[in-house]
Subunit: 478 residues, 2 copies
Amino acid sequence: MHLVTVGGSDAGISAALRARELDPSAEVTVVVADAYPNFSICGIPYYVSGEVGHWRNLAHRTSADLEATGMRLRLDTFATDIDVAGHRLLLRDPDGGQSSLDYDELVVGTGALPVRPPIAGLDELGAADGVHLLHTMGDTFALTDTLDRIQPKTALIVGAGYVGLEMAEGLTARGIAVTQVEMLPEVLPTVDAELGALVRAELDRHDVQVHTRTTVTRIRRASQDEGGSETGRLQVEGTDPDAEPLSWDVDLVLVVVGVRPDTDLLVRAGAQTGARGAVAVDESMATGLPHVWAAGDCVVTYHRLLGTTYLPLGTTAHKQGRVAGENALGGTARYAGSLGTQVVKVFDLVAARTGLREHEAVTVGYRPGTSQSSPDDHKAYYPGAQPISIRVTGDLDTGRLLGAQLVGARGTETAKRVDTYAVALFHQMSVDAMAELDLSYTPPLGSPWDAVQMAAQAWVRDYQLPAQQAALRSLVVR
Amino acid sequence: MHLVTVGGSDAGISAALRARELDPSAEVTVVVADAYPNFSICGIPYYVSGEVGHWRNLAHRTSADLEATGMRLRLDTFATDIDVAGHRLLLRDPDGGQSSLDYDELVVGTGALPVRPPIAGLDELGAADGVHLLHTMGDTFALTDTLDRIQPKTALIVGAGYVGLEMAEGLTARGIAVTQVEMLPEVLPTVDAELGALVRAELDRHDVQVHTRTTVTRIRRASQDEGGSETGRLQVEGTDPDAEPLSWDVDLVLVVVGVRPDTDLLVRAGAQTGARGAVAVDESMATGLPHVWAAGDCVVTYHRLLGTTYLPLGTTAHKQGRVAGENALGGTARYAGSLGTQVVKVFDLVAARTGLREHEAVTVGYRPGTSQSSPDDHKAYYPGAQPISIRVTGDLDTGRLLGAQLVGARGTETAKRVDTYAVALFHQMSVDAMAELDLSYTPPLGSPWDAVQMAAQAWVRDYQLPAQQAALRSLVVR
């Protein structure tokens, strides 16, 4: 048995690790397009910020660690085509030559590519000009080279999603004045605007200049400064919420507006695509092509509440890769599905979500209602208590918990409180039943009803208490 | 409808609040033995330590808050007897006189009493001598009076459970040199000794002198110091692990070795008792006496894994009280059961548990196995990562998760990570299936497989991997 995985990031490595764990006699080869297998791309903002001392530390495991598990690594090797009938992967080797690799089973984890928004000038400008996208370790080195070379005083970040916000923090930490431009009405558009506004306030507190409902339309080199010498500066143009023109002069532009699935290899081999153009897979991570499995950011995501969607996340890629690796060896694993659980730290604030927001819930037939409350992270009498803003969404017809969004200060255990909701969602709990959960309490760290339960109880009071009162009356009268 | 609840702590107040919420027309009276309704007795150590500025802050709600919900409070009023047939509660009023209160439904939440261990001299000595038990607000004021009066330099704490450990921290914070004596082999005996040893090391780091396997046998006043004047000091005698005599001279002795259910009122009314002498109730919190319900530390605890046991906890009292309050009005609520989820902060360490340890699991027929691992709280490359020591216990026959114990530094979200296990336990998950949970990840706060999942995977590797490998082989051969 020779298992080949394509992709050195979460999905490909996870598949290879699981295969080696389950069958130590299996031959496993991992084809990695660059020289950085098993690097944590989620950690890139913290390397750019200077918080991670050496880029090598970003590796979940070193190449030596990986090889010690018995897998073989083919670095700087690009998979150009799959010969499905011939069970053969065609490769471009590090020296530019072509070769091939026979496989019995193939797991493809080609991941995602950064989206290039339609900004005039973006295609002509690049790292040499101080214009960057950020997705790979190669992109990272290009950016840090630029930072070292031009020592920018000002930067503009296009996009205020997870990576955009982390980079706003990271560049601010380097002493760079950051302007952040987001097309949508609020930063962190993956949470409701009521909570996004809290994140925006945190950006304000750290002097990030935020422009929402604003579109960047053009980037160009500002040719010369007043003295006539090259400044190396960039001029960025955009339109504000009233469609009035805006302009910024900055030293650096970073475009981080999300990703799209990298499906070329699989599509050319005949794989079908689904949501957002990602490769269609079933819950076994089978592509439909014989002996070809796929996982991670290049494939559609089975979501336990939404059905099939596209939701690229490292946590999902790890799980899917593990399933693919097991099944490639003949196993019967199933990917249990995503809940879209996510968390981001923005300066001293933590924002998290799991499950559905109202507009998402409506698309799959729920009748959602949302309550917002702000229970303290721990008993107010113990020093340092801080409110966590929690929005709980439930189905008004069934009372089922549909989702939760939380924003709290760092130190309020917000990141792991969202997990309580995530596990409740996994088991299809009702909002009301969350009061039954036996959660931990000590005054310095919680409350007798934990904050997640108090927020659930607020939802119940808002939407179900009258019905509970009526039900009791009818019982008593009966 | 006149609902009377006895007890101003978690169970009684929770019942009254739920009743008023569900039926705003219900008349609700709460009979409180002291002047401190709805006080957080879990917060007492933090008032003694000086971290809580005023004792009034320990109230979950003020008397005014409670009365604003429409309930009536009868403070400093002791319920002496229940006339079950007459639907009447007999009272000793604040002035010492007797009276009675008619009820339609009665919820009893008399709570627990501190255990007095068989220590010679304990019954003769009291607050005036610097010898204290600690359970009520009255006990608290007696202790703080002593602290103010004698300004102790040294204290000995009998017991190293939750309250004992919190008080070791609290007295240390006041500059008192603390000796802590525990009869059992390790401190915090509610977790396995491997983790208790970490707590003990934390005590050592803060100069608490810990003696385990040591029994205090006698306390007496040390009559005079060398100069012949009263010292006010106490002499404490004990026996060490080799049964050799030990002796300590200290200014203060605090005895905190657990609680027993306060069942006098209910037992005299004819209620049956069960585990540890607590009043027997069913999952509706009915006592069997007509129209008499009971909840909290005075009753047995339905445990989802152990069945009926006695496990007094504030979180449980809140839940049971809520069920009792609803059912007293004619509702059909059921207490879903405890998992024994608990957490304690000891200086800068957090220790938590949920579910069963091996010796408990054996008593209900499981064949438990436990793995210990130490995953980091977040990615090691991001500054400040710290290991959390996690012991996962599962059933070797079924793979079912049975329990988890965690010890981590403050700031590692250990308190809310135990909740992830607690919710998994609530839903009878297998250890292996925990890898399917979609938990949150960002490098500063977690890992792609969260620490709780890494610890679960360690258990699976220890106990199930060979079987998984064999199962795969048999599938492939087939």
